[in-house]
Symmetry: C2
Subunit: 215 residues, 2 copies
Amino acid sequence: MLVLMPGPAEQRPYHHGNLRTALLTAAERGLRENGADQLSLRDLAREIGVSHAAPRRHFADRRALLDALAETGFARLGATLHAALTESDGEREFPTRVRDAVSAYAHFAVENAALYELMNSSKHHPGATLVTQAAAAAFGQMTDLIAEGQAHGALEQGDPEEVGIILYATVQGITTMVNSGMIGAERLDGLVDTAVSQFLRGARPLGPQRSPSGR
Amino acid sequence: MLVLMPGPAEQRPYHHGNLRTALLTAAERGLRENGADQLSLRDLAREIGVSHAAPRRHFADRRALLDALAETGFARLGATLHAALTESDGEREFPTRVRDAVSAYAHFAVENAALYELMNSSKHHPGATLVTQAAAAAFGQMTDLIAEGQAHGALEQGDPEEVGIILYATVQGITTMVNSGMIGAERLDGLVDTAVSQFLRGARPLGPQRSPSGR
DNA sequence: CTTCAATGTAGACAGTGGAAACACAGTTGT
DNA sequence: ACAACTGTGTTTCCACTGTCTACATTGAAG
């Protein structure tokens, strides 16, 4: 697909100067539009206007490129979660904060379906610790949130990570089902609501319930 | 039509006689061993000892093969669930039945990681209704189980499907996290336990603390 | 026996990821 | 100033893949 650029600098310098990021942004667009399978290194090179072997200088492998995409994906997801959580920091009640975080997560996953699928793919480079590290960072916020809920008495005591995994997994599963077409996207919000309220009921302390803040 | 193969495997006849199933079984092994990405039609043909274009007679497309694999995967998953549920039919208490089903599901997903990832992949043929149909069949058992729980009074009333999706999604997410390496496989059983007991607590009838409110 | 549809074969094509050798340009050491 | 070095992009080549088209072989139906 040769695209004639009527742009200013018709003569391209020998060195692109920014190939790595150009590749990443082009790859992300391609990923969104055609999925990871259809993502071709040569296509990207063509689109950017560089020789087909140039990407190799920045990504040893096709998988290396995909891993990098997954990594930035987790970083963005983490930022999204962080934003959703700091926005309602302190003021709001705990259930609302959980719902905000979960909802932000779910919408990210559905709006970036292909990227999200790539992020959760099992096939990363053996030494792709960066990916799992980025994933852990994003996931850690869920753990923190759980710990916060336990501190406020909204959740029963226990390993925050164990409980966080459950919540994380539930949202993860819902979005996967939506993304795979098993569930219509219009049901996403409703399911998230149900999931969160069930989670809160299932993980709150037993016995005399001391409501965090009466209502 | 059905052609009976002469038992002993002597001289290979011009027609393989059973190529389709041979392809599927070989593909399933390859999928397990090397993942869906590495699955090559030509490789399969070579392995079976047939020309590289022969598979085309049975699967129009590479994706058609993968779709068929996903479909049989859902069928097997459905059978596994069914077995787990009928085994403890009636006798056992509801929570145990839920735990059995969920555990069976989780182990299937982890023991057939590549297949399971393929099953949950978003990229099926546009007209691959068979896949989603098979998926719905497997999922339907979860809905039935929920309905059973509601009938027995173990779960609060409501749309069984909506609640079933939550449970299904939770297990789905846990297994995905395990399969992607985010969580060690040794934690699977513990997480399943936690998830099920939280689910049962969260979905059982109780004093209405927070009725489902819209948005 | 002839015909026919199903199934398998052979060859060609475009496209891909990857490797090697080479070309250009900015930086650095002297 | 200038030569060497290093990072980056280019060219050329290879093995391999999925897919297409024309042809071969077969068993079964008419």
